[in-house]
């Protein structure tokens, strides 16, 4: 039974034997070998995104936003939800594990019984809590204000689901097949409304806005908040609009009238 002395005055154990010295050098060497690729990978990781961002792409001059007039929303109408589901390949199911990128919320004032209906999706905050908490930077805000999940980097920790004040994020709980080619989504990653970024980049409006307009409800408007000549900017400048949970100071890109 080997024993080691724990006296405060460790009696001189002697100089390290040859074996110990070899092990020490080997340990240091191994650490170096193990760390070196990691250092190199970090260099590559940091260098990669810089390439190619100078040519056309998302620019900070634009800030995409939506204005929703909940006075025009009918309780029971789900045109926006159906459009989103079919555009993005969502199942449309409402089990607790199903992803919902947009949902209709019915609210009722407890004092006077007044009811209201409105769609709720990712609010595309200027200061998104989901981006703050993401450990890998997978949840990020694009230059033009759209908050996205980089599913190449998402590790599925679900911190963003916890942190979102609007419960906008969903987690994919099971293996998926038959994804839409424009909308990659997969098991084990977080996801949320991405303002139909594949449509926006083509110059179209998000599917929910398009569907609402096509059906003539006129409840949803999409546009560039930074462009004073855009319809959305003009309306926000003229009418009183609100953000949900304004007190959090998140400066959301989605604004509401009528709540």
């Amino acid at each position: 039974m080997k024993s080691q002395n724990l006296t405060p005055h460790g009696d001189a154990a002697g100089t390290p034997s040859g074996r110990r010295g070899f092990l020490a050098i080997a340990a240091v060497g191994m650490t170096g070998i193990l760390l070196a690729p990691g250092v190199r990978l970090i260099e590559i990781a940091q260098a990669a995104p810089a390439a190619g961002t100078t040519s056309a792409g998302a620019i900070a001059k634009v800030r995409w936003g939506m204005l929703i007039d909940s006075n025009q929303c009918r309780s029971g109408c789900t045109d926006c939800v159906n459009a989103c589901n079919s555009e993005n390949g969502l199942s449309g199911g409402t089990l607790p594990t199903d992803s919902q990128w947009i949902r209709k919320i019915e609210i009722k004032d407890v004092r006077n019984g007044k009811t209201q209906s409105l769609p709720m999706m990712c609010q595309h905050c200027a200061e998104p809590p989901c981006v703050d908490v993401c450990p890998t930077g997978a949840s990020f805000k694009r230059a033009d204000g759209i908050v996205l999940v980089d599913r190449h980097r998402c590790i599925g920790c679900r911190y963003c689901l916890m942190a979102c004040p609007y419960k906008a994020r969903s987690f994919v709980h099971e293996p998926l097949t038959h994804q839409k080619p424009d909308v990659p989504r997969g098991m084990g990653t977080a996801e949320a409304c991405n303002l139909c970024v594949h449509r926006v980049d083509r110059g179209e409006a998000p599917a929910c806005v398009a569907a609402c307009a096509a059906a003539g409800h006129a409840a949803m408007l999409f546009g560039d908040l930074n462009d004073p000549a855009s319809e959305i900017a003009k309306r926000i400048a003229s009418y009183s609009t609100r953000q949900i949970r304004e007190n959090l100071n998140l400066d959301t890109g989605v604004r509401y009238i009528g709540i």
Binding site: K2, S3, Q4, N5, L6, P8, H9, G10, A12, A13, L41, I42, A45, V81, P96, T97, D98, S99, Q100, R103, K104, I105, E106, I107, K108, D109, V110, R111, M120, P129, D132, V133, C134, P135, T136, G137, A138, R153, C154, I155, G156, C157, R158, Y159, L161, M162, A163, P165, Y166, K167, R169, F171, V172, H173, E174, P175, M187, G188, R245, I259
Partner: protein
């Protein structure tokens, strides 16, 4: 007289039974893990409403107890309490084993654990989970260095450095663990600066309880005489830690209740939360705080051993209750999207949701416990962590010799 460290004597039937039991638990845990990996989180009880479930409760318990078990080593090497020096190595070992397993359990619950390396390659300075990676590995490294300095002959001069860094890291680590919740503005149950110090206080209490349980088990199974003097000190320490933890918990709940905007949540937890209310009052408060406090406040010497063992076990149970209430209770309550309104939607807004942990989640928890047990059991067997004697006479002589040498 010197306290001599020795390795645990293996080969006994009890030892083999323990290893076999832990091995079985490990096998069950690993099969649960593989099941979840293959089929996805749909096979667990977690969903878009209950985002972090039972595995997170186990993981946070381990991550709180780990730095907490280091308290003994801190008292010995930072605060100069000589009587704890013989058990400082055991304290360090437990700290590493618990923190390692806690972090591992967190990583295994990821939706894409194969991408865990992304967390190392891309660091988000604002994300507490990102810091945690460095806090935990740094903590394990510094405690490892501390153990080396203690146990390698002639390296004692590095002990103050190693333990000082471990101490600083320990504070940072538990602050980080608490801030995972404290920094979230979304939910009424979190969103509070008090989480950081509260978790430090809780970690002291939980960590000491785990340390006491392991110490009692190790000494009993290996025939190491454990004196009442050391146990009495540990009992007194435990009482202090329970008190400090209780203080922070009270402040947290009182403040939440005082704030009108958070009162709904507090009412939910304290009165009409069903399982959460039961776990809070019966599990966390009664079994986890009041009963251990009463048992250890003025224990008669004859009952000291039984009382301290019972208290430690109850504190651990109370810990699980407390974490369940905090983590899951915090998620059960709907988000306050429209105060003053009843809210309903297809995404379960406006209602209190219910959560049932699945068998596979229990499996993950069992995996964590098994791994801690195996690491500690094997480490005690392979490396000399335990002193040969911890009885009153041996400790008294050790103290005297140390005092003489210091003067």
């Amino acid at each position: 007289m010197n306290i001599v460290l020795h390795k645990l004597q293996g080969g006994s039937r009890g030892h083999h039974q323990l290893l076999a039991g832990l091995g079985l638990m490990l096998a069950l845990g690993v099969s649960a893990l593989l099941y979840i990996e293959h089929y996805g989180h749909i096979v667990t009880g977690m969903n878009n409403q209950f985002v972090w479930g039972l595995p997170d409760v186990f993981s946070i318990f381990l991550m709180l107890s780990g730095p907490g078990t280091l308290s003994i080593a801190l008292l010995a090497s930072v605060f100069g309490k000589v009587e704890y020096e013989p058990v400082a190595p055991l304290s360090g070992l437990l700290a590493i084993a618990l923190v390692f397993t806690g972090l591992m359990l967190l990583m295994l619950d990821l939706g894409r654990p194969d991408r865990a390396s992304q967390a190392m390659l891309h660091f988000n300075p604002k994300s507490v989970l990102s810091w945690n990676l460095y806090l935990y590995s740094g903590f394990m490294g510094f405690v490892g260095a501390y153990l080396w300095s203690l146990m390698e002959p002639g390296m004692r001069r590095f002990t103050p450095w190693a333990i000082g860094l471990a101490f600083a890291w320990r504070i940072g680590l538990t602050t980080g663990t608490g801030s995972i919740y404290g920094f979230q503005v979304a939910r009424q149950g979190f969103d509070s600066a008090i989480f950081a110090p509260m978790y430090i206080a809780l970690s002291l209490s939980y960590g000491l309880a785990v340390f006491v349980l392991v110490l009692l088990l190790a000494c009993r199974s290996n025939g190491i005489p454990l004196g009442d003097a050391l146990l009495a000190r540990l009992a007194r320490l435990q009482v202090i830690f329970i008190g400090v933890a209780l203080y922070f918990v009270l402040i947290h709940h009182m403040t939440n209740y005082y704030f009108t905007r958070n009162r709904d949540f507090e009412r939910f937890i304290l009165f009409d939360g069903g399982i959460y209310t039961n776990l809070f009052w019966f599990g966390q408060m009664l079994l986890g705080t009041i009963v251990p406090f009463a048992l250890l406040a003025r224990p008669p010497l004859a009952q000291l051993r039984a009382r301290i063992a019972a208290s430690a076990a109850l504190i651990v149970l109370g810990a699980f209750a407390q974490l369940y209430v905090t983590i899951l209770g915090g998620q059960a309550q709907p988000l306050p999207l429209f105060p003053g309104h009843q809210v309903s939607s297809s995404f379960f807004d406006g209602i209190v949701n219910s959560y049932t942990p699945s068998l596979s989640e229990w499996g993950l928890g069992v995996l964590g416990l098994a791994l801690v047990g195996l690491i500690v059991t094997l480490a005690l067997k392979l490396i000399a962590f335990l002193p040969q004697r911890l009885d009153d006479a041996a400790l008294q002589k050790y103290r005297a010799k140390h005092a003489l040498a210091a003067s």
